[in-house]
Assembly symmetry: C2
Homo-oligomer: 203 residues x 2
């Protein structure tokens, strides 16, 4: 299996509905191996991944997402995103994500990596995971909404106190193909030497 | 130019010395475009990139890194990493990084994205940038040590108060090729359904 790097990058999307088709262990191994190649502070590799296939645990994760959404997430986002995006996210939070055959709960071991470097050490690995999923034809999404329920996640996955959940990634074969993501051109947010000297000014 | 996705992932390394060869605008455009395809909370794309080529600004960034290293970074890391890694990082902090022909200062606009989602929205984009650099044959490194000097960076790059520096990425043609990175096997940090149920146990 071969995938061109920039093609993969351009086609990564947040998937919020999944086919029932199971995900092979080989695919899980490929995406988690990719995750481990990301850089981390002092090369501490602080990640611990929980691969969740169990029906009850997936349902519990789905419930946490729905609760977080119902208890403030929706209200908060209503005024901030387009109606179309709100409807997309709503579908994910209230059942779409829960339909994923696998969740990967990405955690940081704070005895291995320092707490202040958790974010810079974990999100690059998580991004590698998401890209690798795209390269293998899988759908995924970066979600952090359930991470607010740290106590619940700790109980659900028997996490030791020094292992903290950072993101919950639903993973599965896409229910349907998605087009490329919508993004501003990089030049709209790029400056030469100092803020305000637009990239495009001298090209 | 074509690069296989998993090859790129497996060959990303932290580069700490660079050739004097300039980096083309086309390469900068490619790596920043890749950055923009990363996911971000509410698709807010909070990134602002300062592409630093100016000699004096690069020297100032190098000075900040050296100061951060001399004033605590070295002492802190001495007891935590191997002598070889310490020597590598030392070379970067005291001149290797400063020799990069370009720095990209990755900032977050907190008026566009919320402060609590800065990390989860910025580090995936930065990881795309680092991978894309690898795909284009460029060396790079994820550094955050200079970010502690927020006031200095704000002055140096004329950042508005709502734009906060998150990482400083030196970018250039590698001084020499580096082998693949050293990582633990993913299975050493992967669990089935709950923490402690090792992946390898059932494969």
């Amino acid at each position: 299996m071969s995938a061109e790097f920039f093609e993969v990058v351009r086609h990564q999307r947040a998937h919020r509905s999944f086919a029932a088709t199971p995900v092979d262990d080989d695919d899980i191994a490929a995406v988690l191996t990719a995750a481990t190649y990301a850089p981390s502070a002092e090369n501490r590799q602080p990640w611990e991944f929980i691969v969740v296939r169990e029906t009850s645990a997936r349902a519990a994760l789905g419930d946490l997402m729905r609760r977080a959404w119902d208890s403030g997430g929706r209200t908060f986002s209503e005024s901030r995103v387009s109606p179309k995006m709100l409807a997309d996210v709503e579908r994910g939070m209230t059942g779409g994500f829960a339909g994923a055959p696998v969740f990967i709960v990405a955690c940081a071991d704070t005895e291995r990596g320092l707490e202040q470097t958790v974010a810079s050490s974990m999100f690059p690995a998580i991004q590698n995971l998401l890209l690798a999923a795209t390269a293998r034809g899988l759908g995924s999404a970066l979600t952090t909404i359930a991470v607010g329920f740290r106590a619940e996640l700790t109980t659900l996955f028997a996490l030791p106190p020094h292992v903290i959940p950072v993101a919950v990634v639903p993973l599965g074969h896409p229910a349907r193909p998605l087009g490329p993501p919508r993004r501003d051109a990089f030049a709209a947010h790029t400056h030469r030497d100092r803020y305000g000297e637009r990239w495009s000014a001298s090209t």
